[in-house]
Amino acid sequence: MDPLILSRIQFGANISFHILFPAITIALGWMLLFFKLRYNATGDSAWMRAYFTWVKVFALSFAMGVVSGVTMSFQFGTNWPGYMETVGNIAGPLLAYEILTAFFLEAAFLGIMLFGFRRVSNRIHTLATVLVAGGTTLSAFWIIALNSWMQTPVGFEMRDGVAHAVDWWAIVFNPSMPYRLVHMLLASGLTVSFLIAGLSALRYLYGDRSESMWKALRTGVFTAAILIPIQIFAGDQHGLNTLEHQPQKIAAMEANWNTGPNVPLVLFALPDEAAKENKFELAIPDGASFILRHSASGVVPGLNDYPGNHPPVFPVFWGFRIMVGTGILMLVVSWSAAFFLKRRHSLPKPLALLMVPMALSGWLATLAGWYTTEIGRQPWLVTGVLKTVDAVGPVAGSHVALTLAIYLILYVLLLIAYLGVLVHLALKAAKDGDASPLPGVLDAPLSQPVAQPGER
C-alpha cells in the first residue's frame, strides 16, 4: 500500500489519540489548583476530597499523554524526515523550548503534586500544583505556536530549499497563533468542565449526594456555562482570521464552490468534489456571507479560486459542522444545568442522564475542530512551503501498515481501559461519599485503611 496515505493515517491516529489527554490535563491542572485554593481558603475537606478524586484522573491522563507524545517525537523522524529537513530550523527550537521549559517542569513536580501532600508543606504542595498546571499550559503555548506557524508561516526566508528563521517574535506570534491558542485553551477548559460535570452527574444518578460531589458538579457546570459563550465568540474570531489568511480552508469548510456574494450557510450537504457541487443541500440564504462578511452581499471565497490547491472538502465541511453542533449542544446543556443548580438546587434526572455521555463532548468537539483545521491545511504540510507528499520518508508501506494496525489495536484497548477506570473511580467516589478517609487532611490516625499500597 501507499506509504504516504498510511503514514498520514498513522500520524493522524497518533496525534488524535494524543490530543485527548492534553485536552484534559491542560485545564484539569488549573481546576485542581482551584479545588486546592478553595480548600486553603475555607478549610472544607470536601474540596480536598474532590482534589484527590480528580488528581487520579490527572495522573492517568498525564501518563497517557506522555507515552503518546513520546511516540510522536520519534515519528517525525521515522515517517516524516522531509519535515525537519525543510523546516527543522524553525520547528526545532520551538520543540526544544517545549521540552526544556515545560516537559521537565511538569514531570518533576508531578510526583510532589500526586504523592507529596504529606511530605511537603501545604504551601509547597500548592506551588507544585501551580507549576504542573503552568507547565502543561506552557507546553500548549509552544506546540500551538509551531502548529500555527505551519498554518500561517511568517518570519523566515528560504535558502536552498531550507527555511531559516529571520524574526523569532514573528514566528512565535504568527498571525493565527493567538486565535488558535485561545481557542484550544478554552476547548481544554470545556473538555474538563464537561468531564467533571458528566462524571459527577453519574455519581448523582448513583445516589451520591456528598459535599464533594456537589462541589465538583457545580464547578464543572458553572465553568462550562461561563466558557461556552466565550468559546463561541473566540471560535468566530478564529474563523475570521482563517478567512484572512487561509481562504481556501474557509471555502472547504463552507463547501462553497464558487467565489461570489450572497453565499448561503449550508447546514447539511454531501459535498461532491468530482462534480464540484453539494448533494442534498439544506442552506440558509446569504448566511455564510453574513457570518463571514457581516453583509448579505459580502464576497466569500470559493473553491474555484484554488484549483488543485485546496483541501478535501468532505472531511473539512463535516468536521466543522460536528464541532459547531457539539458546541451548541454544550451551550444548551450547560446553561440548563446551571439554571437548575442555581435556582432549584437540584438536577432533574433526564438532564443528569444526558450529562453523562456529554462528559466526552469536549473530546468530540476538540477532535472535530482539529480535523477541520489540519485537513484544511492540506495539501500543504507547511502552507506554501512544504507539501505533505514531499515530506514522507522512504519507509516501506508494509512496515507502516503493520505498525499502524498494532497502534490502532493498542489505542482502542487503552481507551477502553481508560474510560473504564474513569467510571470505576467515579463509582468508587460515589460509594465512599464523604466517608472516604483523608489521613493527610483530617487529623486522623494514619493506621486507617488508606489507598492500596503502592498506589500512585
Binding site: 497517557m64 521540552i99 500512585r456
Partner: protein
Amino acid sequence: MTFDWPTLLPLIFASLMGLAILIYVILDGFDLGIGILFAVAEDAEQDTMIAAIGPFWDANETWLVLAVGLLLVAFPLAHGLILGALYIPVFLLLVGLILRGVAFDFRAKVPAGRKHRWNRIFLLGSVIASLAQGYMLGVYVLGLDFGLAGMAFGALVALCLSAAYAAMGAAWVIYKTEGELQKKAVLWLRRALVLTALGMGAVSLATPFASPRIFDKWFVWPAMLYLSPLPILSAVLFGWLWWQTFHLPKADDRHALMPFLTLAAIFTLGFAGLAWSFYPFVVPDRLTIWQAASAPESLAIILAGTVVVLPIIIFYSFYAYRVFGGKATDLTYD
C-alpha cells in the same frame, strides 16, 4: 579545527545529546530494570518496588524525550536516517514505553481483581522497551548493519542491556528498601552483573573490529595509553561490585547507595568509550555532526535557552528526589 560558532555549536549539541542519553540510560535504566525484576518479585514486593520509582519515572523518561528532541532539532538529517533505518525496533520501543507508562497508573486504579493483569503488562512493556534499546545499540555500533551478523549481535546486546537495566533496578531496590526485599535484590544484582559484564565486553570488542576507523582510534600509541583507564577502571568497578554483593546489606544500611553509584559510573565509562569511538560521526561512518547539524542561528537560540534552563531542571530534579528520599513507603495521593 577553528573555534567559531558553526564549529562549536554542533559539538556542544552532540555533547548535550550524549549527556541526555547517558542520564536517561541511568535514570530510566533503574525504572525499566525494576519492571524487568517484576518477573521474579512477589505481589507485596512489587508494590514496594513501584513506590521506589513512582514519583520519578515520568521525569526520568523526559530525558529520552530531550535526547530524541536534541537529535531531532540539532541533527535533523541524522534523526531521519537513524530512526528510519531502525523503524521496527523504534516501533517496539515505543509500544514497550507506552505499555510500561500506562501500566504504572492503571495498576493502581483498576478494580483490585485486575491489578495482576497490569502488573504483567508493566513487566512486558519494560522488557520490550529494554530489548528494543539494546537491539538498537547493537545495530548502531555495527554501523546500522542489518545483515544476519548485525541482527544476531543486536540480539546479544538486547539481552545484555536488559540485564544491565535489571542490575540497575536491583541496585535501586537495594537503596530504596530494607529487610527481605533488600536481601533478595542483592542476589538479583549479582546474577544480572554477569550478563552486564558480558554485554559490555562484547560491545567493547565488536566496536573496533567492526570498523577499521574505530580500530585505528583505539589501538595506536599513545592513544592506547590515554584510553587504557576506561577498560581497566570498568573491570575494577565490576570486580568491586561483585565482591560487594557478598557483603550487602551492611549494618546500619551503610553503602546502600554504592551499588547504584558504581553501576552509574560503569555506564558512564562505557558511554565515554562509545563516544570516543564514534566521534565525530552521528551516523556511523556516514554523517558527521557538522554535516547533520541545523543552521547555527537555530542552534544558538536553543543553546541560549538550554544554558538558562538546564541548571534549573537539574536543581528541581534533585529537589524532587530529596522530597521522596529515604526508604520507599506506600505511595498515596492523600
